[in-house]
């Protein structure tokens, strides 16, 4: 993992707001409304771009899935494939590929899927054996819950860690912390998850080892909350290193900037320097990267979902890919791409809000 280059774009590190200047500049009235219009332009531009992008992505999913060597009938049969004799296999193939769309040319299947989409019909999933809309409705909330909490916890821990490390960049603590985080970033998410489970659930018995609730228990916030702890910790631990390391770098640079020095010289208390001058500016590049990293967060939580039998969308995405389940595969891919586009937009909007010198028209 590299710090910046893996996102494909370098976030502009904006110049620090001058000393005494409030975070959001009290610009003249006309300029403020002009800025609002520019932000709306940004939102509209991004959303207009998103539509053709989703179209191209879904087309690519259909084309790639059709080109994959997986056989729909074999995937449907799974282990039973081996015990399916002669004519029976042929009729299974007819049933799986015929009436349910997998057999048509991929462009035709895509067209059928896309035109159904316009009328609100996401199609039927052959791997989950139910309407795609139902699969998504049942699973997406659980995935979002896991991702949002994991990211939030990761960020909440990353901020103090980054600050501590940046205060004395050559101190023992900073060196231990950064090398520890580099090491952690190299550990696969599922290993982290298994380790947490072995220690906290099996060893100490503090937490359940998986599932949405205790066996057969009702889905209550208390039950789900307890079962969320380990998966959320796993996601947070997977995200913690890169957030901390990015933030650490930006904070270190910011702490030595002339503006910060000037603030200190004028006797602004250190706490205030950190809270008002350093952190907001340092957050800018981190936020920009966070938007672009969302798809990776989604992908990482797939394995965590698997280990903890968490009923999220990640599991069904994998089975859909293996089963030539066009409808579900396309829907999940487009949805996750939409999450990435919206996440990027959200990060940019935060950027505009934090840093008044950002030009929405240039984003």
């Amino acid at each position: 993992m590299t710090l910046i280059s893996d996102t494909g774009r370098e976030a502009p590190v904006a110049p620090a707001p001058g000393d005494g200047m409030p975070l959001v500049a009290p610009a003249p009235r006309g300029a403020a409304s002009g800025r609002r219009v520019a932000v709306l332009r940004l939102v509209r531009r991004r959303l207009l771009w998103a539509a053709p992008l989703m179209g191209v992505i879904s087309l690519a999913v259909f084309a790639l899935a059709a080109a994959s060597p997986t056989d729909a009938a074999a995937a449907f049969l799974g282990a039973r494939d081996e015990f399916t004799g002669g004519a029976a296999r042929a009729s299974v193939e007819d049933v799986v590929t015929g009436a349910h769309g997998a057999g048509a040319h991929w462009a035709e299947a895509w067209w059928r899927w896309a035109s159904g989409l316009v009328s609100g019909d996401l199609g039927v999933s052959t791997s989950a054996r139910m309407p795609v809309a139902d699969v998504v409705a049942a699973r997406l909330p659980w995935t979002l819950l896991l991702m949002v909490l994991g990211l939030a916890l990761g960020a909440a821990v990353a901020v103090p860690l980054a600050l501590i490390a940046a205060r004395q960049p050559h101190g023992l603590l900073a060196r231990v912390l950064t090398s520890g985080l580099w090491a952690l970033s190299a550990v696969p998410a599922f290993l982290v998850a298994m380790g947490l489970m072995a220690v906290l659930a099996v060893g100490l018995g503090w937490l359940p080892t998986g599932g949405l609730t205790d066996a057969g228990a009702a889905v209550t916030p208390g039950q789900v909350g307890r079962h969320l702890v380990l998966p959320v910790l796993s996601v947070a631990l997977a995200q913690l290193p890169w957030i901390t390391l990015h933030l650490h770098r930006a904070v270190t640079a910011q702490l030595r900037s002339p503006a910060t020095e000037a603030a200190r010289l004028r006797g602004v208390p250190e706490r205030q320097v950190l809270a008002r001058h350093v952190l907001p500016t340092a957050a800018v590049p981190t936020l920009a990267i966070a938007g672009a990293r969302l798809p990776e967060v989604v992908a990482g939580s797939v394995l965590v979902e698997e280990v903890f039998s968490w009923p999220g969308l990640g599991q069904s995405l994998v089975s859909a890919a293996l089963a030539q389940d066009f409808a579900l595969l396309a829907a999940s891919t487009v949805l996750l791409s939409a999450v990435a586009v919206l996440g990027g937009l959200l990060a940019d909007l935060c950027l505009v809000r934090i840093d008044p010198r950002t030009d929405p028209d240039a984003l």
Partner: protein
């Protein structure tokens, strides 16, 4: 997790819960407290694709559906929805089944002969797409004689029919369309001891005992199945006490049994592993070479090493589980010296590179196994290392299912067998009969070696049409001696399926069963959970 940081997150969580959890909460609450002695909590090996009985004839669907015939203790077939075992006429072509009276489906409708006819018509109908259609090719017609009598007319005499009548019978009204689109896949309507209470896709399933089941009221009222695909995670869950049992590999079972109140339960099975020897390869055309390869295989070492001892060496697709039909003397000793001598005599001399050759052909071939199946991979590796000292060069290739069927005629393959071990015909016929010897991608797993032996054909055909059970068993035993003289494959071992379980001592009626290839927590000590009584 520190509360200070996560308060907004908890709020968000509550919102999402409100949006997605209400329907689940209603049925989940009824499932009861998990410490209730009448609740069984098990970790299943993975998500079910479907609960359609025409897709899954045994296993979990046997809790929701009954067949005319049921698999009983030790794998002995017994009447299910039939009042007695099916009766055949003297020619074995006409079978009559009398049905239980007063049986109802879980939707309240009455069970009768029409439901049986509909189920067996559907399983044979190509438009329905059941993978078991070929298993019923002998059935010509199913007729309802009266509401409680069904007659099966067969195209040819077939003694093994009762094992095929284990098919779960759904309500005929619910049986519409093909297996993929059928609502039965997720909304089962059967006559079985349990009904589906809740299915949280990707996470768990809860079954509840049915009021008014014809077999009595099950004392285990609730069965909760958590889907845990990862074996280590499964073992952790059992150890932590969150579930009462799970299916795990022999090694892991041996590790965790004995602690945390867990005991190891091992059931014998008709589930065997074998290596095909395609006769299109020049060396395998010679029966003596096939015998040599069998003699060179150290089966016991594989059982000890791969299965931690939980298996039985076999020489043919027949396993000791076949009872009287099993011939105990039909075995291959591990005798590399004799194997080498046979190969020398057959003209396969060791060349300068240590590999045998004859007329310019090297004794080298590829052995395929399913890449994701670690058991088969281990068998393939052990077999290859047994062959190396004999001067036979075996290259290993992990393949996907699509590739396996296309290459079956020119590459050896690690086979799994025994999907229906309750009759020897179902266990062996398609593996051995020359009718299936011609390679066909759509039927690659039937007789994968392309084996043909007129004696074997004769004995298989005679046995399936023999009405007298003792005479039938004798034919199968004779068949096994022929198979050892002219082996179609290297049968390696029959597995014991291993489980860890706690709390079995609280119940009477826990039995062992003979298991098919398919397994999971619908088997193991829990296969007859509906019949358990509290001790």
């Amino acid at each position: 997790m520190r509360l200070r940081h996560s308060r907004p997150a908890v709020l968000l969580g509550a919102l999402v819960l409100a949006a997605s959890g209400c329907s689940a909460a209603v049925s989940g609450a009824a499932a009861g407290a998990s410490d209730d002695a009448a609740t069984l909590r098990l970790a299943e090996t993975g998500e079910y694709g479907s609960l359609h009985p025409l897709e899954y004839p045994l296993g979990i669907t046997s809790k929701l559906y009954d067949g005319l015939v049921a698999v009983g203790a030790d794998g002995v077939l017994e009447p299910g929805l039939a009042v007695a075992m099916p009766e055949a006429d003297a020619t074995l072509t006409s079978w009559t089944v009398r049905l239980r009276e007063g049986v109802t489906f879980s939707d309240g409708s009455e069970f009768d002969a029409q439901d049986v006819v509909a189920a067996f018509d559907a399983v044979r109908d190509p438009a329905v797409g059941s993978w078991m259609a070929a298993d019923y090719e002998m059935v010509e017609q199913v007729t309802a004689i009266d509401p409680l009598t069904v007659r099966f007319d067969l195209a040819y005499p077939y003694a093994g029919l009762p094992a095929r009548l284990t098919l779960g019978i759904p309500a005929s009204e619910a049986l519409g369309g093909d297996v993929v689109g059928s609502p039965l896949a997720s909304e089962p309507v059967g006559t079985g001891p349990y009904v589906l209470a809740e299915w949280r896709k990707g996470e768990s399933m809860t079954l509840r005992a049915r009021e008014g089941w014809w077999g009595g009221e099950p004392q285990v009222r609730t069965i909760h199945l958590a889907f845990v695909a990862d074996e280590n995670a499964r073992a952790q869950r059992v150890r932590s006490g969150e579930v009462d049992g799970a299916q795990v590999s022999p090694r892991i079972a041996a590790q965790i049994a004995g602690s945390d109140g867990l005991e190891l339960v091992a059931n014998s099975s008709g589930d065997f592993r074998a290596i095909s020897l395609p006769v299109t390869l020049p060396f395998f055309a010679d029966p003596a070479v096939r015998v040599a390869v069998n003699l060179g295989t150290d089966r016991q070492a594989m059982i000890d090493g791969i299965l931690a001892g939980h298996g039985t060496a076999v020489a043919t697709p027949f396993t000791p589980a076949q009872g009287d039909a099993f011939e105990p003397s039909a075995v291959f000793a591990h005798d590399p010296a004799a194997a080498a001598a046979l190969l020398d005599d057959a003209g396969w001399a060791v060349g300068p590179d240590g590999v045998r050759a004859k007329d310019g052909v090297r004794f080298a071939f590829t052995l395929m196994y399913f890449a994701e199946d670690t058991l088969r991979r281990d068998v393939a590796q052990a077999f290859a290392s047994d062959m190396a000292p004999l001067g036979i060069d075996v290259a290993l290739e992990g393949v996907d299912r699509r590739h396996a069927v296309t290459a079956m005629d020119e590459k050896a393959f690690v086979l799994g067998g025994g999907d229906m071990p309750y009759d020897p015909d179902a266990q062996a016929y398609r593996q051995l009969h020359s009718d299936f010897a011609v390679f066909d991608e759509d039927d690659a797993y039937s007789n994968p070696s392309g084996y043909a032996d007129p004696d074997v054909d004769r004995l298989l055909d005679a046995a399936r049409t023999e009405p007298d059970p003792a005479a039938r068993s004798a034919l199968y035993r004779e068949l096994q001696t022929v198979l050892v003289a002219n082996p179609p494959l290297v049968a390696v071992f029959a597995l014991e399926h291993t489980y860890v379980a706690r709390g079995l001592d609280d119940w009477d009626g826990v039995e062992h069963v003979l298991e098919p290839h398919e397994h999971g927590v619908a088997w193991g000590p829990w296969f007859n959970v509906q019949d358990w009584t509290r001790r």
